[in-house]
Amino acid sequence: MAFSLFGGSDKKDSGAAPTSGDSSNVNSIKENLQAQILQEIALTNATELISKISNNCYEKCILNPGSSLSTADATCLDQCSEKYIQAWNTISRRYLARVQSESKN
């Protein structure tokens, strides 16, 4: 499935009712739930990123909408997307560093 690209997995719950108190079943239920939560978070993150990149790069690259995406359009979108992701990383590092140093004060 597409969302496996973004850190998720296809693991589904077995559906069989486990015997309560069986520790290996408890662990697998717990791990399954944690995996599902992580998957949903990864999907949310990816969706947000796609939305932001689309909006920003459409604005910067497609100034005169034609009847199809030209090669120039595609190159611009490509460069813009890469740039945006780099910007995201730069800002992420800075923000997290600042949050950590503020929480120490």
């Binding site: 309560s20 408890v26 717990k30 978070i41 993150n45 932001k52 790069c57 910007a87 995201w88 600042r98």
Partner: protein, 89 residues
């Protein structure tokens, strides 16, 4: 599309439920940070990258982006202080 069922959670012993709750809280906090990062990137990309001339961030743009985040946080602190002072009067 969530497949998390109440039945699964109720099968867990209390220690596991507590562990799961802590996990959810921790991931929730991380998700809020990520959401902020998305907001800052959107805002600062618009301020710092006027046109697309290449496929990577230049050193000048990089400085602009980090300044952008820092100044926004400073602004936020400034506004919080100002409003809380005016609320004390």
């Amino acid at each position: 599309m969530s497949q998390i069922s109440k039945n699964d959670i109720s099968q867990l012993d209390e220690a596991s439920q507590v562990e799961l709750l802590k996990f959810v809280e921790s991931e929730n906090a991380k998700a809020k940070l990520q959401s902020s990062i998305h907001m800052f990137t959107d805002m600062c990309f618009k301020k710092c990258v006027p046109t697309i001339t290449m496929g990577s961030v230049s050193p000048a743009e990089s400085t602009c982006l980090t300044n952008c985040v820092d100044r926004f946080l400073d602004t936020n602190i400034f506004v919080v202080n100002k409003i809380s002072k005016s609320m004390q009067k």
